[in-house]
Subunit: 402 residues, 3 copies
Amino acid sequence: MAKTQKQNERLTRVGSGTPMGELLRRYWHPVSVAAELDENPVRRIRHLGEDLTLFRSKTGTHGLVGDVCPHRCASLEYGIPDARGLRCMYHGWLFDEAGTCVEQPFDDRVNPTARFRDKVKIKAYPVEELGGLLFAYLGPLPAPLLPRWDLMVRDDLLRAVDIHPIPCNWLQCMDNSLDPIHFEFLHAGFGNYQLERQGRPPGMKAARHVKIDFDVFEYGITKHRLLEGEPETADEWAIGHPILFPATLAIGNEGNAGLHFRVPVDDTHTIQYTYSTTARTAAMAPRPMTYAYEILFDEDGKLIRPVDRILQQDIVAWVAQGPISPRTEEHLSAGDTGVILYHKLLNENMDRVARGEDPLGTIRDARANDPMIVIRRGRERLGAFEVREELRPAIWSTTKAS
Amino acid sequence: MAKTQKQNERLTRVGSGTPMGELLRRYWHPVSVAAELDENPVRRIRHLGEDLTLFRSKTGTHGLVGDVCPHRCASLEYGIPDARGLRCMYHGWLFDEAGTCVEQPFDDRVNPTARFRDKVKIKAYPVEELGGLLFAYLGPLPAPLLPRWDLMVRDDLLRAVDIHPIPCNWLQCMDNSLDPIHFEFLHAGFGNYQLERQGRPPGMKAARHVKIDFDVFEYGITKHRLLEGEPETADEWAIGHPILFPATLAIGNEGNAGLHFRVPVDDTHTIQYTYSTTARTAAMAPRPMTYAYEILFDEDGKLIRPVDRILQQDIVAWVAQGPISPRTEEHLSAGDTGVILYHKLLNENMDRVARGEDPLGTIRDARANDPMIVIRRGRERLGAFEVREELRPAIWSTTKAS
Amino acid sequence: MAKTQKQNERLTRVGSGTPMGELLRRYWHPVSVAAELDENPVRRIRHLGEDLTLFRSKTGTHGLVGDVCPHRCASLEYGIPDARGLRCMYHGWLFDEAGTCVEQPFDDRVNPTARFRDKVKIKAYPVEELGGLLFAYLGPLPAPLLPRWDLMVRDDLLRAVDIHPIPCNWLQCMDNSLDPIHFEFLHAGFGNYQLERQGRPPGMKAARHVKIDFDVFEYGITKHRLLEGEPETADEWAIGHPILFPATLAIGNEGNAGLHFRVPVDDTHTIQYTYSTTARTAAMAPRPMTYAYEILFDEDGKLIRPVDRILQQDIVAWVAQGPISPRTEEHLSAGDTGVILYHKLLNENMDRVARGEDPLGTIRDARANDPMIVIRRGRERLGAFEVREELRPAIWSTTKAS
């Protein structure tokens, strides 16, 4: 049954004060690759519908504050990093990472006893660095612990991040991850059609799903698929893949694992931090995490690249549903049980937050988090689709570089 | 007398359910050059304010359907052509050219008796190919016959089509065709001024109109002009040029004739299919119709090309009237009798449609259409303007190539 | 105390009929460099929220008229200059510089006695040329005299104009000129930080203001600043710099003086005509005024150039306050006394206009204006900041060229 407009808005809107906005504000989300601040230590960002200024101070600490100086409303995106925080470019008012105004140069000099600076304060949110990403928490304090997912912590991995700006609502990205069936057409059918239009033979067999299943566990939902011709002992069925609640997909297998963080920018824009790892053998030196932006659509929403890779095909499907998918018009059917379960879980957890409770997956006990949270992974990767050997790197890669 | 805002809206709005939208839906309009589907067999188009997907199936038939799959609302612009119609890229739901869902791969497999596919249907409109163009009909069925204008059918012609996207309402294009007087200034005056700014001598004499006249005939309006120094036997007066109701200009003379189809994209955008022919002598081999896009304005509405040609000058005048000409501010005068007659005819035919009658020029009898509808043309071309010999090809050409 | 939304709108909105729009319409503002019409004698401009057509007739006179021909509403930006005014491109209706329709070619020929042309008239405003700029006056007639500021009239100067399109409300530019304190951070602090990011040493000392003061005089406000370590006889304190009411900054010192005309395009766009002069010695030949556009922001509001110069830093601060600075959120403090005085003066003069009186600085007596109005200037330039010798030309230049 299609949703009402109100039900769709409840599931999709991310602004402060909305039910989903409040749920999402109970979790840490990546808001930048840490290395992005090497080039310019002050970045204007938009996150959960809020315009904010992310900065690295002169001592290397990070802050996330409002975007406007309360003096004469100049944007802090042009702020000057200081040892104690960030200064407004215009008259040098200085704010620390808690948003406190700690200096007003002219007023402090001509009128030091008035302490006008105590009258102004700006919005400020905690920031933590982990695994090369900067995570922010916009909810009520005390903040829960930043989850130490294994891939963010392990030192036996090589890392790369692709940053994918996506011009649509975040929920479309997530629905896709709860929907194993789409592989048959979006990747096999549409992928083969892309090759056909280039005059090339099909890249994979059109395998069919026999059944799909989903379990809720302490950090989210595990999805399972059984493909034609595979035994029930196959990893994709027996182990499955987790979706980390509320908005992260754990992807890949041992030796080739990733986390896809879907970060709502606002109601109609999302950034995916596509965090990819490969095993680093003892013989290999560690190397710094690399990062790159990959833009698939121009400003008019027109696709500007070929979409040979699985990930790109997924992104096209998300965006093809429009800025916010009009779920009032949709017809969920037999393959959408995962989507239905996920929406139910979102609704239940919005209710929990409304009652003042911690939602699913909140971590407040360091013993559950240290040294890391290990995600169980299988060894296989949709073998029934029989991806052609020479196409595998091209099709499976999640990063622009490869 | 200026129009009221309501009168102007009645004449200009093209959406479904508006009086003009309903009138325009009683006619076939070109929506693509057929050859455009060679490169990509699926095109997203906008026509009469509706977002649609035009496609060529694997068997070469054409369909025009809604833009969104009713399953999860993915755009069909990324659809996969099939022998039986068009498949959604996401989960492979298949729709035929009548909009019927004929396959839902996963549901058909796991729940074949439920026939969930009978519960969904998408919008679909008939498409016909003629003379290298694809025409669509968006009105109530049964559709009238697609008019077989001589230039679309004759095999003794060489054909070229220019596609002109025009960022304004369609009626401005038509008003221009009902207004012979503008030639004096838009083409002679403004055209000569363009040359003057390039340091070149005038291209044509500033001939004057002695009188103008208009007749309604079974397919539209014929316009007549008598220029200073010409006899009443001159073709421009004695024969005239037809405007094929509601939105096509028949242009040129024997051996150099064209049809300018003005196709409303939405209230503020039009595409002109500028269909040009030249006589093919017995000695010349037939050759495929060529086509090209010609863009005159950038996204800010700024003119980005010189406008040396008659057709380009016309387009500039249309766009110069704004997205929808504010006819509440206009002052029609002695030269606007054709415009007034045309608006009257539009109003009468909107009334006919409202009464459930066929409007002017509807063809339902094949005997009137087969093998073709011959348009009577003169041999002359505004000789009184004395276009300089060497400039004639440049000034008169309607195609980008020449 | 922060302003109310209503107070902020009263101070910022420039449209016809708004209090500030009416005040601004009591002054002449530059709307073009005269030489811009050499290339194309007809320019579409937007000024004080009105869309207008500026033209130079065939006899070299200038006119500023409405943007639309009242016949069929074609834009006059494509008009054809005539000896008697400007003709519409479409049917040749001719308007003189007073907006009177002096010819309707077809109507005049076929229906000469009807004099339909007497029924139409277009908006028209006076234009005057001075010092290489074209000034327009949009207020009630009789217009006051166009002020003959010394720099516009003197023949012992070399002139250059930079045209700075600025995507924000005009008042932000002016507030900046009434606020000497910003020099400490926007220029010394932020400027030095720009150099630091390029790996270069600071360009100037971070001098501090001891006190600031402001006087109202017959043409506006004079601002005074006393810097640490300077005597009260220093020119910056003893003479100061004038802001010519309502929207012009007189800048520089003897031998290097300029006028920065801030011209409201509409509520959220401004053009600064940055008029710069240098002394021309007897040995130097006069040379024509040069002009250039300098664009600092792209269409998304992103800064696209380094901002090494004082003027560029100022512009960044203006734009950083947003399209219209949200003064409901601001916290004016000890350094903002000039801004407060200026807003008070604006409010008083809006009241004067509402009472039918001439506002501050209106000149109606030619004896006050002829041969010129001399502005008293000092010889120094913020010496306490000790700008590094080799950086001075780069930092102080107001023109793109240097």
